[in-house]
Subunit: 197 residues, 4 copies
DNA sequence: AATGAATGAGAATTCATTCAT
DNA sequence: AATGAATGAATTCTCATTCAT
């Protein structure tokens, strides 16, 4: 039972490692099989084909992400505190999962076929916490109400994606967490109540 | 004579279109040949191999870029005016050549092998105009002298690359030129004389 | 299990037949695959590439040769009797394996790349029986001691190679075994004790 | 007029040089054209195709050989003296034309397709001088009459081919002419009157 | 369920040959 | 006559996917 799940996990983990090095085309099923210690054919028990395996990565990783962030948000009061935590975890997640970051940000997001499958949209929707936080903030009166919550979510996730992508393109020349304060500030400026001029 | 040049051009143009869609590995010589209306074998008359064709794109495009920008800079007086023009043309060039942009910014710049070939460095060196402008600015006294001109060039080109990359990742959801004013401002702030605090 | 070995054998046998007809360059993997009744791709499961397959022929055949000759030498007493048997088997082997003979003697021995790979040296070393026979003969006093055993081995194998090559160049117009007596005589004259003049 | 002949000659000479290095398959028309200072297409004015060019080499070279040897034989009296001269020139010819030797002895003679074209037989027939010498020798009484003259010709040419081939296989480690005396002796022993036992 | 041998559809590349200029 | 650009068939090799065991 759990052995089955473990095998599936091992394959996915191997896939992340292999795909993150050379991308989709450069990577071969045989190398993934070798690294996962299973036979090539066995991969097809768990995943329909190479593309299915590839696209399973963000789905699985997103489940991981949303599960973890839920825990981290527990017990935190105040919209801005929650947003700070969200941003912090988002950065922390990609700092500790740079290989997945490469796949998601540098390969999938750039590929037309990924956009076509709309898995990306699914991913955005999955990250529901930020939407809830924004909504509650609007109700509390701490978040501007003149902008649609979906747009505000786009704004937050857009900034974060951008920062992570830039960091990955630099191949980790600096510490991603360095930017935590600046990002938090600009996000809060962006979605908070407009200044009274 | 000119037919030969036309064929070579057609192949390069087809290569830009094809490569920009799927990247290096996803694209096939046969598709490029089909789109250029030549036989597969003919491509090898003009380019040593697939990689050579791929790397010929930025070389050719850079020649185009530097030639054009020279014309645009003619007759403009004043360091900052020249910088404004440079930035404007840089943005305009990628706005009108987004396919080449994808190849250069999203594929080549991220690939290790491209960085290794040092063609990228060649490209930076080719864009010599900005270096001259900076140098003249230092002599005129409008550009800060406490920072090396090569660093200043990096700063300018770094910002521009970054802005274009971000735009491409959004697949053209907004107009690249929108950012012209903001970029100009931040560039001039960055390389101009430091504020007297 | 044994099917795997059988497939590998079938490929090698097909390779011998095909390569012996047209040499390395003239022969195609597709023809070898056809003759071995396997898919082209299967060949690459067993051999790294075309050259690897080509150079595997003498290795495999030498193992065959040395294994068989061991059996034939069993129970034979007397240096010269052993030498006679060795020569006999050598001629017999190429008489019954003329296709391999063509590959080894007419193509590989002439090719610079083969000599470079030192597989040829490996082959010579593999045929260790003749060296042992010579050594024992020296100890017994039937073989001349004023010449190094390695030189004597060269002499024997040199004559044999030469005779087989000549026969192959005539495309089997005569029976290779015809020369058995003459060769034996000249070999024994060459390596035996010098005549007392 | 003579320019045409000169071009044809230049192509043939280039072909000899190129083919002798890498054999038929390894050599390309484009390299031959480059070396002959003509366009690729021009080769097809003079030779039907690659194979035609290849097989033209021995034809041309044989004409050269037979023409020269005629001059060398002028004024020589006595069958054995003529045979000596013939052997001498044969060796001298390949010593000074080793590239052609490689093509003829190591590639053509070994290839089935060459044997099929029967050009080889044509060559043997072309070397008519040796047949005349033998015939005259029989009439003079210096050459054995119990063997057919065609067999005797085979014997002479067989020995010579063999000696040259062996020399080429050694890649010129020794001087071909060294063997002149031995060969002459064994040829004369072979075709001369049988010993009175 | 798991295996891994076998497949065969492509892909890049080479080059003899043709043909418009 | 000469050229050399263009062709496209053929070749080696890779690898996702299937299937008998």
């Amino acid at each position: 039972m759990s052995k089955k799940i473990a095998t599936k996990q091992a394959i996915l983990q191997a896939a992340i490692e292999v795909f993150s090095k050379g991308g989709f085309r450069n990577s071969s099923i045989s190398e993934i099989a070798r690294r996962a210690n299973v036979a090539e054919g066995s991969i097809y028990r768990y995943y329909k084909n190479k593309e299915d395996l590839f696209f399973s990565i963000p789905i699985q990783k997103t489940i991981e992400f949303t599960g973890e962030i839920d825990l981290h948000l527990q017990g935190i009061r105040g919209t801005f505190n929650q947003i700070r935590k969200f941003i912090w975890y988002y950065l922390y997640f990609f700092k500790t999962n740079p290989e997945y970051g490469r796949i998601l940000m540098l390969e999938m997001r750039v590929s037309r076929s990924f956009v076509k499958t709309k898995t990306y949209n699914f991913l955005k929707k999955s990250i529901s916490q930020i939407l809830q936080i924004i909504e509650e903030g609007q109700n509390e009166g701490t978040i501007r109400k003149d902008v649609n919550i979906y747009i505000l979510r786009e704004l937050v996730l857009g900034i974060l994606e951008h920062v992570v992508t830039r960091w990955l393109l630099q191949e980790g020349k600096y510490d991603l967490m360095e930017y935590y304060e600046d990002i938090t500030k600009s996000v809060i400026d962006g979605i908070g109540l407009p200044r009274k001029a």
